[in-house]
Symmetry: C2
Subunit: 721 residues, 2 copies
């Protein structure tokens, strides 16, 4: 890709971004779109436009996003989101502080050394562009100018250590504050117990669990809830809920028809067969009512069977105070470590009930199998990625898909396509992965959704960094260099270092595309807007259906973070080689911070809260990127035959020590709840019955909740409490 | 060493052993020696000869040792000792079960293949002996007879897995039983808190600690004891105790002189200068009384100063019940993990007070520095070990020490010396190490003696196995093979495998020497007996001095286990190569089990109790020896060019998995106390004041214990308790 094509891509992206911004400013003012642009505020019962001034400055959202405090973010979108902004802010800080020193120092140092250009202009086969003049590649081998670049590596590293340390301290404080909140949160009073040993003769599972925990916690044990196999009951419940929705929909149609056509209305009909397209035609209202009438007793009897006969060897145990629950979740209960294993309970709605019954060693086995599968996938995805970056050049596409020839031959379009195609292919390809990885993570036997998301996020990170970054960098020269690596495994660093400069523009374009188009689409919410309006017009009849149409979902930081981490890795690794990438990195994280802050405050609704447990992963991965950068730089300096390159060897060691110290100082408080935090007083004494009931899954909730339903699996309240 | 020299060494050792046994049978019956042969029974207030039958069978102790139950051992000598017997029993089981299969199968298979002998009799330079005929070296390369040996490796491995699993389950049960004992043990009600953050303005350290733990444990917190810097007060106290002992000694002499010489007696005198040899001559009674009179107020004022001004940032915290203490010792208390770190308290007398103040990261740093020093020592001790095994041949000694020539030239003596010298040198050399390693372990900042002993024991194990076993094996050929290893690091296994057969007789002699002489001396207790009688005759005047003269000390399993592990490693590694070593291994552990059981029941007094925490280390090390054996066998089969050698590769992997599963299933219950164990009811409610006072170090104990002394560092009893 040459320099002009790079500028075109940059210009186009920028224009698209400005257009999307304007669209946002225009559309977000329309009252009908409020539910798309301000759903979080609406759900929280706030006025969408804060004071009702719809006619205000179209860029007021920027001011609002900047002036919103961290506490605002936490109260609007939860701690996890606030931690995500700490992550973005930290990376932004690293890049800004690096830019301040690196840009004014390194660019002149590189630009004034013309040696390479003059001597190798003919050998570089035309790929040597104006852009390269500002990079480290412009400096001739063994030049003392490398000292400036070497010191720059140290500067970037120390900036990173300093900001990461500050951020870890800050997030640790945030987590402590959230955990010591005076509000009653059900998950703080419960623990999850798994691997319960077989029940003794003449005892129910409930009695077994109750007696075990009553002996250990005679004063603070409240109740237990034995986990059941809910597959059947969930199926019936879902069917019932489906019919209830359909009935509401049919009633709405019937009501509408009364007002529009004739006063007695037209009773809606449907067919009973496959997808409502075949079979007998019946009156919908009657049919659905009949089905519901039929299913309710079926559900009730299934609930009873489930609670009585489908008990699993896992349970939720409730305590009357937070300290005991926090302490019980950390302690070893049974002499055999694989029995009565405890963990802190996640929020009720993020429990993965089907995973709770999986046994201790089976979980470990599953985890190792999943790791193995992911490692295989990472190793062998490099091959398709290599093919993608080779095939998605225009010339190749023209050969493969002759029908696109006429389109491609338009000159302007050709330049744009040439600039975007490889990156687009990469982005689409990567979009397919997260679902697969989340599936794999859930298969590990992880008990909560947030934990599974974290696990998937980690896999995704290694996937992107190893495959995209290293794959693309080394990919071009992979087959030729494969022999070199085989002969001398240490040369992988050199190969990586040699591959870096050639791909600088590719990654620059990738970063630019991601922030202009990605964040432009994010802010303008064009896709959800269109979907919402289509649904509203043609499908939705009831209020509930309408709400489902505009419900925004959460920020999905699980997939955002690996994407961001890829940018961090790219920008860090190029920061010294081609410092010009730094402003792009700053723009990516600056724009991202601004736009996502707006989205967090106004759009997204968090679907779970893990009290910032994602942070240690983010921290570790920024550090991993930094180490990759340090090692690569060592290889690059070596390749440039700079004699003082070994001076970089202490840096990766320092990073390891820094990571070790951080994990020793902070990590455990992210895994467990510190007791000094849990012992803070509550606003009011907790309603234990409510805490207990919040953990009952919806499919087991009974309308006539007279208590006798729960006598089997859900233990009775201890009399003296 | 040739075969006759081996037989001589064996015969001599056996004769010495029989003589020592007879000496024991004769001496142990004399009433005057009871305190040497039955001190443990005497200290426990039992009759030395159980029923008073002094005239019984001299070998009755064998029957007593065998018939004593595990519970007897625990009650007489503590759980740690019982666990040591489980270790010996397990190893014995492994060796016996291996012998049963390996001896009748492998010996005929090896002996009937004469190929090597016939073809290489001339090339083996006379080192090929009758003994080698029964070993794997006798089988020619690529022979299908290796199948028998390969299956034997599998048999030994599976026997080991099975018995180790059984032993781990058993020890885990023993530990649980000991921890749920209904007796009140002070350490079960206390936790050790370190890294206490700086005290807030206007608060004492005691208030700080008290308020922190009272908030978290409002109902079960009892008291706290702030750790102080006792260096000064200990010095004064030791001086005072020394003078008290000297006074008692002088009074006894004075009393004696009254009865023997004249009725008014001769007042003993001493000199005040260096070692009592120089300086002014004074009346001892007067002088010591004056000194004591002088020191008592000094001690009291120093106690006050220590308690008030020398408080450190560590404390012991006491709880009114065992479950809370067990749970508090496992929980994270502070949001910053390096503050308020908790561990379970060890027994009061094994606390290392000087280590308690060391900070979190300093402990980690110290640990890593110590590991580094030990690793260096292990690496560079190989060189002196190599020299020792080269120099301690008689010919070399004669050259170096010409004056021993006449002794050495006596033929019988020469044979004996030739057989023993290298082994003796090795044993003496190894005896110097443990002290040094214990010192290093204490420098790590470990808070309890038993933990330091475990850490030292681990270092000693790696030392012995790496240096003695691998050093001696590879040593002879080290300098010639060093080049090979440098060229191809994988060849270390081959070098080891090639070195093994040549050293078989060396190790056989080593094992035989260790059990005949070592256990013979152990049982007969000749050295302590002589020392005791000398002291009694010339030094001891008071009862206390006499008791100190015969006090037996503990079993010292910390140094025994690495020694035993060396034997295990040797016997395992040779078990298939030269199965004839197995009976020697069986004899070592059989005799050891028997004789040490006698010693445990009658002689040694445990100096601390760690509730079997040594077991996971023993387990891990047996497994490490097994893996070394498996890897070495693979190398040996490869060296013998047996095509199916790769069939051994699954074994080390299986060992790793086995070790992982064991540590997952059992290990945590050895680190922490399981709550289901701690919640067992006590015989009587604990006297908390007594529990608290048992942790006050002797130098801080006050005779007029009116409480006001403790108001500073030792917190007041909480009023409501």
């Amino acid at each position: 890709m040459d320099f002009s094509s790079f500028l075109t891509s940059l210009g186009t992206s920028c224009v698209i971004f400005v257009i999307l911004m304007l669209i946002f400013a225009w559309l977000s003012k329309k009252p009908g779109n409020a539910v798309v642009y301000y759903p979080n505020r609406i759900l929280k019962g706030l006025d969408p436009w804060d004071g009702g001034s719809r006619t205000r400055n179209p860029f007021a959202w920027i001011h609002e996003a900047i002036s919103a405090s961290e506490q605002d973010v936490i109260s609007m979108c939860g701690l996890d989101t606030a931690v995500y902004f700490v992550f973005m802010g930290t990376v932004l800080g690293i890049l800004v502080l690096s830019s301040i020193v690196l840009l004014p120092v390194l660019l002149p140092v590189a630009a004034t050394d013309d040696s390479v250009k003059s001597t190798s202009a003919t050998t570089s086969k035309g790929t040597f562009s104006d852009f390269d003049e500002l990079s480290m590649g412009n400096i001739k081998e063994k030049s003392p100018r490398f000292w400036a670049f070497l010191i720059a590596v140290y500067w970037v590293s120390f900036i990173t250590y300093y900001l990461l340390w500050k951020a870890y301290t800050h997030v640790s404080g945030l987590r402590a504050n959230a955990l010591m909140s005076p509000e009653v949160k059900p998950e703080q009073f419960a623990i999850l117990v798994r691997d319960i040993p077989p029940v003794l003769q003449g005892q129910t599972r409930k009695e077994h669990v109750d007696s075990y925990f009553e002996t250990i916690y005679p004063e603070t044990f409240y109740k237990s809830m034995v986990v059941t196999d809910n597959k059947e009951v969930n199926k019936i419940w879902k069917e019932l809920e489906g019919y209830k929705k359909k009935l509401a929909h049919a009633e709405a149609i019937y009501g509408q028809s009364k007002t529009t056509r004739k006063p007695e209305g037209a009773r809606p009909t449907n067919r009973t067969g496959f997808l409502g397209l075949f079979g007998e035609k019946v009156d919908s209202l009657e049919y659905y009512r009949g089905k519901i009438h039929e299913l309710i007793p079926k559900l009730e009897s299934e609930q009873k069977i489930t609670l009585r006969e489908k008990q699993q060897d896992a349970a939720l145990v409730f305590f009357t105070n937070r300290v005991t629950a926090a302490s019980a979740a950390q302690c070893l209960h049974a002499q055999m470590v694989d029995k009565w294993t405890v963990t802190d309970a996640p929020e009720p709605h993020q429990l993965i009930w089907t995973n709770l019954k999986i046994k201790f060693f089976q979980r470990q086995l599953r985890q190792h199998v999943v790791y193995f599968v992911v490692a295989l996938a990472i190793l062998f995805y490099m091959i398709p990625i290599g093919f993608i970056s080779a095939f998605t050049t225009l010339d190749n596409l023209k050969k493969l898909l002759p029908f696109i020839k006429p389109i491609v031959n338009v000159k302007a379009l050709k330049t744009v396509l040439e600039a975007f195609l490889p990156q687009l292919a990469l982005i689409i390809f990567l979009a397919l992965l997260p679902k697969f990885l989340l599936l794999l993570s859930k298969a590990e036997g992880i008990p909560s959704v947030s934990h599974a998301v974290r696990a998937a996020s980690g896999k995704y990170f290694y996937f992107t960094v190893l495959n995209v970054f290293i794959g693309v960098t080394v990919g071009g020269t992979l087959f030729t260099t494969f022999k070199t690596i085989e002969d001398d495994p240490n040369s992988i660093v050199t190969v990586l270092a040699n591959g870096l400069p050639g791909n600088a523009t590719f990654f620059l374009t990738y970063v630019a595309l991601k922030f202009f188009i990605g964040y432009g689409l994010e802010l303008s919410r064009i896709v959800p807007l269109i979907i919402y309006h289509l649904k509203r017009k043609y499908l939705c009849k009831t209020e509930a259906e309408l709400k489902a149409a505009w419900f925004p979902g959460d920020l999905r930081y699980g997939t955002r973070v690996p994407g961001d981490m890829l940018i961090v890795t790219i920008v860090l690794c190029y920061s010294v080689i081609a410092p010009l990438i730094l402003p792009f990195g700053v723009a990516y994280f600056g724009l991202g911070w601004l736009i996502l802050r707006n989205q967090a405050l106004k759009v997204y609704v968090p679907s779970y809260e893990s009290y910032g447990r994602m942070w240690p992963h983010m921290h570790k991965r920024i550090l991993a990127s930094l180490m990759l950068y340090q090692v690569t730089m060592f290889g690059y300096f070596e390749a440039k035959k700079f004699v003082c390159a070994p001076l970089l060897i202490p840096l990766p060691i320092l990073s390891l020590i820094f990571g070790y110290v951080c994990s020793q100082k902070f990590y455990r408080s992210f895994r467990d709840t510190a007791l000094e935090v849990a012992c803070h007083v509550l606003q009011k004494s907790p309603n234990m019955d409510q805490v207990f009931r919040s953990f009952i899954p919806p499919s087991l909730r009974s309308e006539k909740n007279d208590g006798d339903l729960f006598e089997d699996a859900l233990s009775e309240q201890v009399s003296r409490v």
